[in-house]
């Protein structure tokens, strides 16, 4: 759960930063809420289309990882449901939330990579994107090694 929260907070921070940088505050007062929302989405798409391709790829990967984690949480709830309704509980299932957390972690790693390779982020401008990618790959290797160890 900690990882999930951290990840969501990171995503919000990144998207928020993008919006702040790219949007031109074009909404007008007095318009209907619907047209406001349309304008907002349109400006969001426009702003996001200006995002570099490599960052879009990372975003795609983050979405994939989060989706996978969400599916697993649902499976976990399904198992809890079965347990509460009288089916037997396999104790090894209790390890799976942990595994879900591991999977979320790959999303967190991807977000970290995104922060470092984003050219508009001045904080890491002295760190080359190749170094950031290498870190990302190394951390993922360790992560998947651990996950594999828990299988079966």
């Amino acid at each position: 759960m900690f990882y999930l929260v951290a990840e969501i907070r990171a995503l919000i921070a990144i998207i928020g930063a993008d919006l702040c940088c790219k949007s031109d505050h074009s909404g007008r007062m007095g318009k209907s809420t619907t047209s406001d929302a349309q304008a907002l989405i349109r400006s969001l798409c426009a702003a996001y289309s200006a995002t570099p391709t490599n960052l879009k790829i990372i975003d795609l990967y983050v979405i994939f990882a989060v989706f996978t984690a969400v599916v697993q949480v649902h499976v976990l709830f399904f198992n809890v449901y079965r347990y509460l309704h009288g089916n037997s509980w396999d104790i090894s299932l209790q390890l799976f939330p942990l595994r879900s957390a591991f999977l979320c972690r790959t999303a967190v790693l991807a977000v970290c990579l995104r922060i470092q390779v984003n050219k508009e982020n001045k904080e890491f401008k002295d760190r080359p994107p190749e170094r950031a990618f290498a870190d990302f790959v190394l951390c993922n290797m360790v992560l998947h090694l651990v996950i594999t160890n828990f299988l079966g």
Binding site: T68, T106, H144
Partner: protein, 484 residues
């Protein structure tokens, strides 16, 4: 994982025999609570009896409950002879305590019937100074017949506590009282049950030339138990003259074998009745039996005359009834001694050896053989209500066992998904039979680390997620590196 285990079989036998004199003619009705043995009973393996004793030892508390009082009139004979013993049913010694050795002749039919069943009777005066129930810590007798209602104090080392200890140790007691019952006798009965003991006078249900008080009653409100009174219906009423007693309703171990008719009441026939009698109708128990948790059996009769030759031989006619019975009902009281022997087995389905331990979720089979001592031989006991429990603090499994019509009860079930020290328990209590209480301890262990399923279907989404994430990572890496 299969493993072979050593076989360990437990043979437990409990017995209780109930003996009712069966011959129509000369049987004297008697309640014998004691280990009456039958002459022809085959000796049982002693080890099994010891095993039962051990099993019973825990259930030591002996809430004896009972009591008596009541005078009634009308000739009826009633005999209940219950014998229980965990030992070999042969060569049992009974101590008969009497006020007067004349009882030996006046109740000779009853005593003879006991002897004919193989009991060795030792007659003593109740105040014999050399009286002793035990010597060097060993009980000298297997049962005690107290036919001495007016005794104020026993002789020798016998006293109230000694008698109760005797019963507490699993021996049997037959107690007969009458209107002259002393405080001592009442105390013993009270220890076994309800303290209220009143003389009762029964009206309207007895016809006798000499009885003007209607204190001689013909009782025919028998307990409905084939086991205690025998499979044949008792045809004639039982004659009773003595005190009635009431039973403590909270004591479930006491049974009224013969209770008074609805028109009976408890009072002194010589005095005028100023208050309503405190004991009336069928609340009055004339003859009761107690089976303690240690299977000691006690018969309490409010009438000593009930066992007498005179009552045994007299004819019976109930008032307002035109039928006259040639003989009082004692003949029908013949029942047999039944005894139980038990052999317990359990094993995993598909195996025959008995493991020392089970694992959760094992399938196992449990079987027990139950025999009944019929008085002459061991017969298989047939019933459809014998249940086994798989017990740890509370029953996790309670199953009715099926039997093969040869006394072998068996069932199979899956060990529950809980580990700990379980017991196979058979608690079988049926009216008139020795309580069957078997328990066998068996540990149940959890899965070993390599006994879990390696991959379980419920976890496939997790496996899939793990691999899809790895594949996704691989594809992402390639796309990211080559997208420029």
């Amino acid at each position: 994982m299969r493993k072979s285990w050593k076989t360990d079989s437990l043979d437990i036998s409990g017995d209780w025999k109930r003996a009712f004199p069966s011959a129509a003619s000369s049987q004297s009705p008697g309640l014998s609570v004691s280990p009456l043995k039958s002459p022809s009973s085959p000796p049982r393996p002693r080890s099994s009896d010891l095993a039962l004793r051990a099993a019973m030892a825990r259930l030591r508390t002996l809430p004896l409950a009972l009591l008596f009082l009541l005078l009634l009139g009308v000739p009826a004979l009633f005999s209940v002879a219950l014998g229980f013993s965990a030992d070999s049913p042969t060569d049992r010694r009974l101590l008969v305590l009497v006020d007067d050795l004349a009882i030996r002749s006046s109740h000779s039919i009853y005593f003879r019937s006991l002897e004919s069943r193989g009991y060795e009777l030792h007659f003593r005066l109740a105040d014999d100074p050399k009286l002793a129930l035990q010597r060097y810590g060993q009980y000298l007798y297997d049962g005690l017949l107290l036919f001495s209602p007016s005794t104020k104090k026993f002789g020798g080392s016998v006293d109230l506590a000694a008698v109760l200890d005797f019963v507490d140790s699993g021996h049997d007691l037959i107690l007969a009282a009458d209107a002259s019952a002393s405080d001592l006798i009442r105390d013993i009965a009270t220890e076994c049950g309800d303290p209220a003991a009143l003389v009762i006078d029964h009206i309207g249900h007895a016809i006798s030339q000499s009885d003007v008080d209607h204190t001689l009653i013909a009782g025919d409100e028998f307990i409905k138990s084939d086991v205690i009174l025998g499979p044949e219906k008792i045809k004639a009423p039982v004659l009773f003259r003595g005190v009635g007693h009431s039973l403590n309703p909270t004591n479930s171990m006491v049974l009224k074998v013969l209770c008074a008719s609805p028109s009976a009441y408890s009072a002194n026939p010589k005095t005028k009745l100023s208050n309503p009698p405190s004991l009336t109708g069928s609340a009055i128990s004339l003859v009761s039996v107690v089976q303690a948790r240690n299977n000691a059996r006690i018969v309490i009769s409010g009438s000593l005359d009930l066992f007498s030759d005179k009552f045994f031989k007299s004819d019976v006619q109930k008032s307002k009834s035109s039928t006259k019975h040639e003989k009082s009902g004692n003949e029908q009281f013949a029942t047999e001694i039944s005894k139980w022997a038990v052999n317990v087995r359990h094993h995993k389905v598909g195996e025959t050896v008995e493991p020392a331990m089970y694992r959760i979720k094992d399938d196992l089979e449990y079987a027990v053989e139950i025999y009944e001592w019929s008085g002459t031989s061991w017969k298989s006991y047939i019933a459809d209500d014998v249940q086994v429990q798989f017990y740890m603090m509370s029953p996790y499994v309670l199953k009715t066992m099926s039997n093969d019509q040869k006394g072998l009860y068996s069932t199979s079930f899956k060990v529950p998904d809980a580990y700990g020290v379980f017991q196979f328990k058979v608690e079988y209590q049926r009216l008139g039979y020795t309580t069957l209480s078997l328990s066998k301890q068996i540990p149940v262990r959890p899965f070993r680390h390599n006994e879990y399923e390696r991959f379980i279907p419920a976890a496939y989404p997790y496996y899939g997620a793990s691999f899809s994430t790895m594949i996704g990572f691989f594809i992402f890496t390639i796309v990211y590196l080559y997208n420029k």
